[in-house]
Symmetry: C7
Subunit: 245 residues, 7 copies
């Protein structure tokens, strides 16, 4: 919670205002939005990159397959998000268009970092201009570059970093603790998938059903965005739950 005096003085009520101690409080509040979002994990493996996410569906009338939490940007790039999903979509559609334009203009695929930088440029503008609020969403962008599989995380300020493994959303701290212990550079996509499911299962407990999980991988050899099958998810979650007990 911010010191009350900052609130009394209104420093936290405009994106274009620094507090006397040099903070941008609206941006910090936007980050709290992310912390309340559903959990998503990204993992760089020896042979590809993985994105796994909790769709957090409870309403049985919702079609689980309609709940998008991982989006394809191009054949070789995927994104998952935590925070305000309608904000995420603005950024993702921008990225999809940019990737398409790149294909058409240069006849090659865009590199992952360019996609990340472009979305972050828009995010930064929204932290500096009156009349807009910051994007209330963090993104995990995974893909295959000429140098192999890569994973980037961007936050509401528009800053980004490369990661070996990263979690965003409500359980990010607990999941990252698990990842730090168990992630190795030599991990394969198959092993990495098990690690992610195990971590999610440990943190979310019994409530985690196969329906709630979405998982995508892109292998370096294929450069093709693919979903893990429902069968794989069910089987892996079952094992994970067994081991948790």
């Amino acid at each position: 919670m911010e010191p009350v005096s900052h609130q009394m003085m209104g420093y936290d009520r405009a994106i274009t205002m620094f507090s006397p101690d040099g903070r941008l409080l609206q941006v910090e509040y936007a980050k709290k939005t992310v912390k309340q979002g559903s959990t998503a994990i990204g993992l760089v493996c020896q042979d590809g990159v993985i994105l796994v996410t909790d769709k957090r569906i409870i309403d049985t009338l919702i079609l689980p397959e309609s709940v998008e939490k991982i989006w394809q940007i191009d054949d070789h790039i995927g994104v998952t998000a935590s925070g305000i999903l309608s904000d995420a979509r603005v950024l993702i559609e921008r990225a999809q268009i940019r990737a398409q334009q790149h294909r058409v203009t240069y006849d090659t695929t865009i590199d992952v970092l360019s996609v990340v930088k472009d979305m972050c440029e828009l995010k930064q503008i929204c932290t500096q201009s009156a009349g807009l609020r910051p994007f209330g969403v963090s993104l995990l962008v995974g893909g295959i570059d000429s140098s192999g599989p890569v994973l980037y995380q961007t936050d509401p300020t528009g800053i980004y970093f490369g990661y070996k493994a990263c979690a965003i959303g409500e359980s990010e701290t607990e999941i990252e603790a698990i990842l730090k212990k168990q992630h190795k550079d030599s991990i394969t996509v198959e092993e990495g998938f098990k690690l992610c499911i195990k971590a999610l299962s440990k943190v979310l407990g019994k409530g985690l059903t196969p329906d709630r999980i979405d998982a995508v991988y892109i292998k370096t050899s294929e450069r093709k965005y693919k979903h893990f099958s429902n069968r794989d998810i069910e089987k892996t979650l079952k094992e994970a739950k067994k081991n948790n007990n």
Copy 2:
């Protein structure tokens, strides 16, 4: 009710402002508008999709047939709304134009999800830009895609989900409870219509007259937006009321 301190500090008075706990209160208030709107139901059936709505007319001088609560977007797509109806119309006219443009440009019909995404883009912008307020309306969009009948619900933030069955407006909680119990994937348009009328009748009680009901179906085989006849509505409502006693 929001904690008073949020109100005192003014976090809930601008769309472009996060509260210190990361919420967008103006958007949450807009959702309350929807909760006070008249009830509407959407249902995916084995052979088509249904939209049923309470027109909530009490004034006997109003022409019931002039009260639009379900709108045709294209031959194969319909929409119903709950909340501020003049807001709904802005979104619906946009969708109608988009569908027409698609026909003209590509000589095929637009898919339902594209219509939904386009309306949600505008909704999102209105939650992020100063000088605008969020749209105070939720929509149920039903239609036939290449994969069969589909139903989407969008809320004031611009987020959307696919549903098997969904209710919006003042009685959404009670209606959804009924739907969860009685909806099956194998339900037919004829049976689904009875289910919707039964649910509405149970929740709205004796005040519900045939005049107040509007109901539309689109069959997968026909791909044609059609109204249930007044006779069908009267008959079905009569039966429903009998069974309720």
Copy 3:
């Protein structure tokens, strides 16, 4: 009267702001403006449509014929208003231009609903954009469509409904009570005119002089906007007053 706390918190002071209970208070205040306007009545008859209005002139130096309260949109469409008359004029001029453009572009007359929808679009925008206030006026639009005589009412939000008979302005509740009792689908323009004058006379009492009344009819057979003559108004009002005693 709004709960004081809403006023204290300022929810009612910007058009782009929802109150915590999901209301747009500035729009509700605009509706009160309409309730203070002079009374106007619209009536769908078997053979046409009627608009009758109280011009509310008291200043004997004003030229009664210069006080416009009913405006012609096209040969087959008329409008009357209650609320801020200078606001009404903006909408009416827009409609007149639209009708003219339709004639020129398509070589047919515009249908009444298109005129109504177009004015409502502008009204809706003024409830959602900062820097503007809602239009403080309700309109009754009467005309002849291919299906016969029609009557629409629009309020400051930009919502509209079709009516058999409708009153707006300070005496709308009393007049509508009379209309509900005495209006029949089989009523003729001649009978309808008497009904309107009778209702106005009952509600406004002795102060109502022929000078204050303006009345227009459009017959389905003629599709021509015509004023009731001063003689007709005088005679009918005289009879009405006799019957009231």
Copy 4:
């Protein structure tokens, strides 16, 4: 005076804001500006139209003939104003340009009502758009139309009415009382001029000198904007003062 609570809540501090009882207070305040302006009278006569105004000059160093209070719009149209004179000029220059354009485009003279409507359109916009204030001025527009002499009055909202005789400014109530008693449709320009001077003299008392009066007439037969001569003014005022005693 407004109820203090309206002032406390700030409803009267933005043009784009309705008070809870449906009023636009900034517009009402603008009307008070007019009530403090110098007095102006317009009169429709049998054979023309007259505008008479108090220039309210007290500083003997001012050139009385440089104090414009009546402006020529076209050969057949004149305007006088009460309120903020620099505001009036904006409207008058607009009207002069419009009249000129009409001559050039259609090779006929503009009708008086078109001039009035055009100025009122701008006035209305200034009551609905943030970033502007309403025009603090009322106008009397007199001229000759195909139907003969006409007189219109517009207020700060942009509403207008036709009048037989009308006064605006600080003494409008007293003058209108006199006009109501003594104006007849058969009055001639010569008699009307005397009536206006008599009324002004009665209300303004001994302070009214010939220098302070400006007076213009347009005869139906001539369609020519002309000033009453200084000699006429002096003589008529002298007589009026005699009769007042």
Copy 5:
């Protein structure tokens, strides 16, 4: 001083706001700026027009000739100002350009009133548009028209009047009292100059040195903007001081 309650309510803090008694307080405050400006005098004489001004220099390091307080608009037009001098310059440069454009476009010199009207148009806009403040300056514009020498004064609202003689700035009341007594229509430029110096000297006392005075005349016969020589100023001031004792 404004009634405190107006200040408490904020009516005086936006140019686009009327106070409940129909005043524009920001414009009234701007007029106070003028009253604190240095004194300037304008005089219409039989054979020309004079502008005389106190430059109010006290810093002996300032070059007196660099302190402009009278500006040439065209050969036959000069302006002096009181209030915010940087505001004055904006208006004066606009006038100079307008005069030049007139010469080039029509091959004749612009008339003085056109120059005045053009500057006043800009002044008026600044009293009606948010985001601008009124010009804090009054101007005296003197020149030769076809009808002979003329003098206009404009205030911060953009209103203007013709004058025989006029003073603006801190001593305007005292100077005007002198002018009213001693100005005659038959005064010559030479006599008028002495009158102005005498008046300035009487009001400003011993502090008035020749350095502080700037004085310009335009004779009807010459139509040429000319400065009174330093020698003339010295001599005339000396005489004036003698007579004052």
Copy 6:
């Protein structure tokens, strides 16, 4: 310090607002910024013009020659500033471009006053437009015109005056006192330079090292912007310090 009540009422918080006593407080605050800036001196000599300034460097890691406090506008014009240096740069770059454009367009050098007027125009705009703040900087512009060496000073309002000698910044009062006593019209560039160093040294005391001083001269005969050499500065400062004791 402003009267507290002005601050309480907010008159000092917007550039577009007059206080009730006709002042523009934001502009007055900007002038205080200048008073806190480092000291700069300008001097008109018999044979040229001098600008001398304290660079106020204390950090020994800063390259003294990189600290610009005097800028060349053109061969024959230099500027020094006191206040917010990044504000100064905006004005100076504008002047440099204007001077270059003048050379290219007219093939002659621009005169000093045109440069000054152009910068002041921008300064004035920033005192009248919402959304901008006034420039927090005063400038001394020195150069050679056809009439010989000239020196102008401009303040944050955009007003300018010609000077024989002028100081701006923290020690302006003390320095000007010295200049008034010791400046003569017959002073040479060489003598003037000594006078400036002596004045700076007296006021700034022992802390003034040669490194902190920047000094420029333009001789009438050369019309060339030149720096005094480090050796000259050292020698002259040494002498000055000796004499001060």
Copy 7:
């Protein structure tokens, strides 16, 4: 900390507002942001220029090589930053584009000062325009000019100075103290690199691992932006730590 009264009055809440003592508080707050950033050092050496920075990575899942804290502008120019990194990126991308354009347009490399000036222009604008906040970042720009190696530092106001050696960020005071003692003009790139690592190590203590350091040099002879190798960093840091004990 600002005097509370400034905060109470709101002087610190808009970039376009001076406080009564002539300060721009929002800009001062932005400078505090920089003071909380990670430390960066720049050094001009005899044979080139060095930039060294603490990447401040603690999360072991972040890829250290993906954390950019030094950016290449052109072959011969590098930049490092302290403060809000997403703000820095906006400035850096602008500089990269400007450098590229210069190459294409003039077929020569841009000089370092032009790059600095261009970024500072944007920074200044953000301190004067409403609707934007100042950039919360300081930059160190190092490169090779025709005169040899140069180093500039810019702060949030957009002011810049040349330096021999400079530190920004949380430890700037301690590091600058070390640099002042130990920097010599004759230092070589190799020695300078050791000095920077030693200073960082002394101030940041044991927590400083080789992973956290990024270091770049550009030699005058090569004009090529190059990273110090990981091996060099490790070795040099090891030595530095030894010497610190």
